[in-house]
Symmetry: C2
Subunit: 464 residues, 2 copies
């Protein structure tokens, strides 16, 4: 979908972009373009140029230029997105936000921080932890993804069970609109309801409504105690039933992650951590809070798990042991490539009590299709990461996989779920958005997009 | 501000409205119009007619008719709003949503409920409590306000310190757009990021972007234990300093309410509960969670309060005693009318550590102006309810009060705050919105309004 009046080449505009950000912060060298051509979807879209602005005015000037000369601008953080949000699918200028790397304030009195969008999420977490504070959202890519990307995609992570997702932490933003206008949204206080909620409209808008240049984030006090439990089951059905029982019981763990047998075996093969390769499934549960509250929770959780058929409930006895367990969880994504050179990764959510149905359905799909399917994810939220490992060059398998994904989405919607829990729509799910969102709603979203970006210069081809 | 082409009288349209909702559900009788002419601002705007639709299609048909014949429609819940959101300031049809009174589902497995907007908040809380669940938002008007109104205004309440505001509980909505189109937003699951966040755009939009006809709400397990503490200080400055110390300590009470001396005396005079009328200020603190966690929190809080100069820290020993303390808190608003026949009520928020500055500034304002000023509110959020009691017929005092409010807002913004924490903008704060929101942001909001409501038929004259 090429917008009317959008230019194909940036060559004549480069000097103007250089005049804005400085010659050393623009590149058109092929080797550089290739570096900014991909994201975690492993698709490649070579931009025409890459610019690295350093402040809000530079972002604004670039966007004004883009409207004047009608070229596409694609904002980008660390490129760790799972649905192609940062890909220049129609060429144009990739605007890399990594020079916006300052933590501007950490207000320990009011539990609020102001940051630039290029700050690495994991770095920010370490810095606030050093001040006794806690920023809960923890996408698996936390050690290299940026807070700006997290806001644009509304990133989640294991701790969402108790602490919610990025949306729940963004109090306010500074945004450069596609027109180049600079706006400030939201508040720097605990509450605020003045005017329409532009803040949450920006969160999860996948870089299509504006470029985020500052973020005001809410923080929590760092929890006194954190404990990790690994729970092993013979049967996956027992594991997922346990998840429902935990939520129903009123205990609120901060994470309830699950790995199926294929995921366990894959990671064990990769890291040799001594994982139970004959288990049907494993849960990785974390609880936090005061020492007494955590002890009570562990005892309650142990009972629930055993009653649901767990044959091993183990509380990590040291920080190192807990770290190893999380290392296993975080290694799933890379380890999967032992099963095939390419991955189709989906991120569906169903109501928590429908996870057993979904798991059963996936098992049947695996049998029916013979595809290599691995599932793991944030079971406490009903959020399942569904992976098909394959070689994309095998056309027959690829077609089978694509049709399996479509079936998966239909089943997800049938169970009352959503086709994206925390990865967004981007380009990979755009073909399926109509399964979940009706035509009136999509038309409304497109009209909102047109209000923000009348010339369609910002991040084209995404979402719809 | 009269929109172009909007009619002044509904007389000829009434039969068409009757055809939609039934003759018995439309009225133009003066005594009925007067009943729907006011809200908690105590201002009166007589509508031309009042209709009581019972389902989504009827709402849709009325809005289509309004576009065809160009008349104003003002949606209304229980009329408990504090800023005039439900007032027909330019006449037209008031659409009362109280017949949408069904709790459709309470899903105890997934901790989700689906309700109609006319359900009374307090009733909903009781019903979910009966199933061991908890809906935390607790506006003071909970026993008569509606969930639809809560969503439209993004209502808060004392428990926001720990549990957030209405926004944090709305997973999805069914909305009739001003055009009459019916849309469904959001998800029925714990997570979801597909398309723009229309759900949060609707929350707090004060009935200007659409009429809410269904609400999907997130629930929590009901807390095991709740305890209430009353803490008494000689000096208000010590009380507000205590609030900062509590938040900084990492203890997270669910409420930290404060009452100044004027509020204490006023309530005592009204209810004779034995409140400490010589105290400079009182804090009402509530903690919830497991028994052990609550006990630890009470001990920590007692230490903090005493170290900050509290001369009495009392833990309510029975549910009845706790209820009496809350009765005192909830009686402030009605009790204030002992100090004057009219009330100007404002709802500002400052960063928590600026409350001492704000309280000092208000004290100075009281001395400078001689106005009867009473403050109380959600100190744990930095959210202060500022009240001037007066007789509006006294023009001199009224002018002095209005200028004091303007000064208050300027000071709030200067301290990094917001002019509305949980009451919205409506008509009472509309003249001041430009103090907080810039012209680019306001222009963007107006363009969004135009996308939703091109003919300007829905709830005109509000926010901006």
């Amino acid at each position: 979908m090429q917008e009317a009046g959008i230019r194909q080449s940036l060559t004549s505009i480069i000097p103007k972009i250089e005049a804005i950000v400085g010659r050393e912060h623009v590149t058109t060298a092929v080797e550089d373009l290739l570096c900014y051509a991909y994201d975690a979807t492993n698709r490649h879209c070579r931009p025409d140029a890459v610019a690295f602005p350093a402040n809000t005015d530079e972002v604004s000037d670039i966007l004004r230029l883009a409207n004047e000369h009608r070229f596409f601008v694609v904002p980008r953080g660390a490129g760790t997105g799972m649905t192609g949000g940062a890909l220049a699918v129609q060429g144009g200028l990739v605007m890399v936000m990594t020079r916006f790397s300052r933590i501007l304030t950490i207000d320990t009195d009011n539990l609020v921080a102001e940051v630039e969008p290029g700050v690495i999420t994991g770095h920010f977490q370490e810095v606030v932890e050093g001040k006794g504070l806690f920023y809960p959202p923890d996408p698996s890519s936390a050690s290299y993804c940026t807070l700006g990307g997290n806001v644009a995609e509304c990133a989640g992570g294991p701790r969402a069970v108790k602490y919610g997702v990025t949306r729940d932490y963004v109090l306010g933003l500074e945004v450069v609109l596609p027109s180049g206008e600079i706006i400030r949204t939201g508040v720097r206080t605990a509450k605020g309801v003045v005017g329409y909620d532009l803040t949450r409209l920006m969160v999860g808008s996948e870089g299509t409504l504006g470029v985020i240049t500052k973020i005001v984030l809410r923080l929590f006090p760092f929890p006194e105690v954190v404990r990790t439990l690994s729970v092993v089951f013979s049967r996956i059905q027992d594991a997922v039933r346990t998840v429902c029982e935990i939520i129903r019981s009123g205990v609120v763990p901060r994470t309830v992650e699950y790995m199926d047998q294929a995921a366990i075996r894959c990671v064990e093969d990769y890291l040799n951590l001594g994982l139970p390769v004959d288990a049907g499934a494993m849960l990785l549960i974390e609880v936090d809070g005061s020492l007494s509250a955590v002890e009570t929770a562990i005892s309650d959780l142990t009972d629930i798990c055993k009653n649901c058929g767990a044959y091993q409930v183990h509380v990590a006895s040291s920080a190192q042991e807990a770290k190893d367990l999380w290392r296993a969880r975080q290694a799933i994504s890379p380890a999967l490539f032992r099963l095939g050179p390419d991955k189709i990764n989906e991120d569906i959510v169903v109501p928590r009590n429908r996870i057993p149905d979904m798991v059963e359905w996936i098992d049947d799909l695996r049998k029916r299709t013979g595809l290599t399917i691995v599932t793991f994810g944030h079971a406490g939220d009903g959020n399942i990461h569904f992976n098909i490992m394959l070689d994309r060059r095998d056309r027959e398998i690829l077609e089978k996989a694509e049709s399996a994904v479509e079936e998966l989405f239909r089943q997800t919607i049938a169970l009352g779920g959503t086709i994206s829990g925390e990865h967004g729509v981007g380009i990979t799910k755009a073909p399926y958005i109509g399964m979940e969102i009706g035509s009136a709603e999509l038309a409304l979203m497109k009209r909102i997009k047109a209000v923000f970006d009348p010339n369609g210069i910002l991040n084209p081809g995404k979402i719809f």
